[in-house]
């Protein structure tokens, strides 16, 4: 009985999503970027993403379709290697950020009282602090970061929005009759959280994951453009940093900085569309009247 319900719900969700053009477009863009990372290495020699592996400053040609940079890297190879690195950082940071935010929001909303006061106060305080300010101090004292360290540092600063959304949802869920029923039935707090509340906030957490990933990539690229990213990994942000450092723009080397920017624009638009579509799915009031 219950199983059939779940199948129906999934089928219903799937048809809704397929009819949503935003989701379809956003999702296709993201799949395209994933394909660059998965299928790219089959066609492109990723060794050429290392410095001094090809002649430097070459404009696009048959041999180097996107040209080469001043450090002797093939830009096409850099894109193929860098895109999945950037995605990985964003997904890791977004996942841990949402995990932390969901837990904090759950506790604050469910237990209320002093716990809520402390968690909400911390959330509101952290929301007014620009993440870049904290990231700067951290990144400057933790010298030479890797892609994963960076993801963890950024995750520590991307839990506030999920925490706020989840807390608000838990506050309203808590007053639902089925929670009182569960309580009367003798279920403990822990089981109520796991069995009754968690399943109802998972869609919301999933929707905020996309937004958190986008925010994490934005913060990560910002750090990288300032030169605080992983010095050895050819991520998209580091490529822009090198291009700026070697004044690629005024030297007319558009093939150096334009490809990473275009990939990032595709990435942000894809994430934005997916996130907007998921928000509409979880919160039907946002659906525009058609």
């Amino acid at each position: 009985m219950i199983r059939k319900n779940i199948i129906q719900r999934v089928a219903h969700s799937a048809t809704y999503m397929l009819r949503n053009p935003k989701l379809l477009l956003g999702f296709s863009l993201l799949v395209f970027l994933l394909l660059i990372g998965i299928a790219g290495p089959l066609f492109v020699d990723t060794e050429k993403a290392r410095p001094i592996s090809v002649p430097s400053n070459m404009p696009p040609s048959a041999e180097y379709p996107l040209g080469t940079d001043s450090g002797g890297r093939d830009i096409l190879a850099v894109i193929v290697v860098g895109t999945p690195q950037t995605l990985r950082m964003g997904v890791l940071a977004g996942f841990f950020g949402v995990l932390l935010g969901t837990m904090l929001g759950l506790f604050a909303g469910f237990y209320g009282g002093y716990i809520d006061l402390i968690i909400s106060g911390l959330t509101d305080t952290m929301l007014t602090i620009p993440p870049l300010a904290v990231l700067l101090v951290v990144a400057a004292s933790v010298r030479s970061v890797s892609v994963d360290t960076m993801a963890i540092i950024i995750a520590a600063l991307s839990w506030m929005f999920p925490a706020r959304t989840i807390r608000a949802q838990v506050l309203s869920l808590k007053e639902q009759p089925y929670i009182s029923m569960a309580r009367l039935g003798g279920l403990g707090n822990f089981r109520i959280i796991i069995e009754e509340i968690l399943p109802n906030i998972l869609p919301l957490a999933a929707a905020s994951f996309v937004g958190a990933t986008s925010g994490a990539i934005l913060a990560g690229i910002g750090l990288e453009v300032l030169g605080l990213g992983p010095q050895r990994a050819p991520t998209l942000g580091m490529t822009i940093y090198w291009a700026l450092l070697y004044s690629a723009l005024i030297r007319g080397m558009w093939w150096w900085w334009l490809p990473p920017i275009l990939i990032l624009i595709i990435l942000f638009v894809g994430l934005f569309l997916t996130s907007a579509a998921l928000d509409e799915y979880v919160n039907p009031r946002l659906r525009s009247k058609r």
């Binding site: 305080t125 300010a133 101090v137 400057a140 690229i221 910002g222 569309l273």
Partner: protein, 328 residues
């Protein structure tokens, strides 16, 4: 607790919290803060002027031999008096004087472009959801979505390439032509405006989409509210219903969003300054990072928090003028 007192306390808490982070984070790294910074600089082959003076100043300032809680209190007192120590790369200069020199550029750029993005975006967003607005505006929605998804500094690079490099109609960077001496003469002011167009435009354009989409969302939800029907039934002019009834009510969530978004706006502007070599706080930060000028980095970080907290406080204090219900 009265509304104003609550907001003021929040402001103080944020500032103290930021100062505390600045105190704790460097202490989590091994070694004492000043020696490790100087060691790092020597390892990179950089020479530091008046090294012994810096060490002496910082040992005294941090009171590194004293217990941790005393160090913390004195650090807090110094920071709250805006005494942020000496810059390592510009040595005789203090961090706060370096910041004060860069400040007018950043505030000018940020205030003008944020205000333009907010005002223009909100107005366009309101028109997007207004049934009697011109139809062609609907075609702008995909454009706004695109603009709101692109980070400020990426847009800045594109604009700089097109208008500065390809068309050569606007300068590629800086805040004024490098040979001129800053003065209050008309040609200099025009020069500054000309240099400010591209950085300002990137912040305005990138912010426009966000405000327009947010306003459109709220305007859609208030369509069909009773007070709008009443206003129409009274036979009020369309313009008056639009501004006095619809926009006035839909504006409130926008103002709340402004308070939350200011942090990312300020961070984004910092990066735009880096792209354009604009001599504001962002450029100062970029130089500080390149020369590992740790105290300047900390100073800029603290300053960013302070600015945003102040701006949020101002927004909070203006809010009751728009929505008198909030004070109760």
């Amino acid at each position: 607790m009265p509304y104003f007192v609550r907001r003021l306390i929040m402001f103080v808490v944020v500032v103290i919290f930021a100062a505390t982070l600045n105190f704790i984070i460097p202490r989590l790294a091994p070694g004492d803060p000043i020696s490790s910074v100087l060691e790092e600089l020597r390892a990179r082959g950089q020479t530091v002027q008046a090294e012994d003076d810096i060490v002496a100043v910082y040992r005294e300032r941090f009171g590194l031999d004293k217990p941790l809680h005393e160090q913390y209190i004195s650090y807090l007192v110094n920071t709250l008096q805006f005494d942020l120590g000496y810059s390592i790369s510009y040595f005789p200069q203090t961090v706060e004087s370096a910041l004060l020199n860069a400040l007018p550029w950043t505030i000018g750029l940020l205030a003008v472009s944020t205000f333009m993005a907010f005002a223009l975006g909100t107005l366009l967003g309101a028109l997007l959801a207004w049934p009697r607005a011109p139809q062609f505006l609907q075609g702008l929605i995909p454009l706004f979505m695109l603009l709101s998804a692109i980070p400020y500094y990426l847009l800045a690079l594109l604009l700089m390439y097109v208008f500065g490099f390809l068309l050569k109609v606007l300068p590629l960077g800086g805040a004024y032509t490098s040979a001129t001496v800053p003065s209050l003469s008309l040609p200099f002011i025009l020069d500054v405006i000309k240099h400010g167009i591209l950085p300002g435009l990137s912040i305005t354009l990138a912010g426009l989409g966000f405000w327009a989409l947010g306003m459109r969302g709220t305007m859609v939800t208030i369509q069909g509210e009773d007070y709008l029907t009443l206003a129409e039934a009274k036979g009020l002019r369309d313009r008056r219903i639009f501004f006095g009834y619809a926009v006035r009510n839909a504006l409130l969530p926008q103002i709340t969003a402004l308070a939350i978004a200011l942090g990312s706006v300020a961070s984004g502007a910092v990066l735009v300054e880096v792209v354009f070599n604009y001599p504001g706080v962002g450029w100062l930060l970029y130089n500080a990072l390149r020369s590992s000028d740790y105290y300047l980095i900390q100073g800029v970080a603290f300053f960013l928090v302070l600015t945003v907290a102040l701006a949020v406080l101002v927004v909070d204090l203006i809010y009751p003028l728009l929505d008198p219900r909030i004070v109760r």
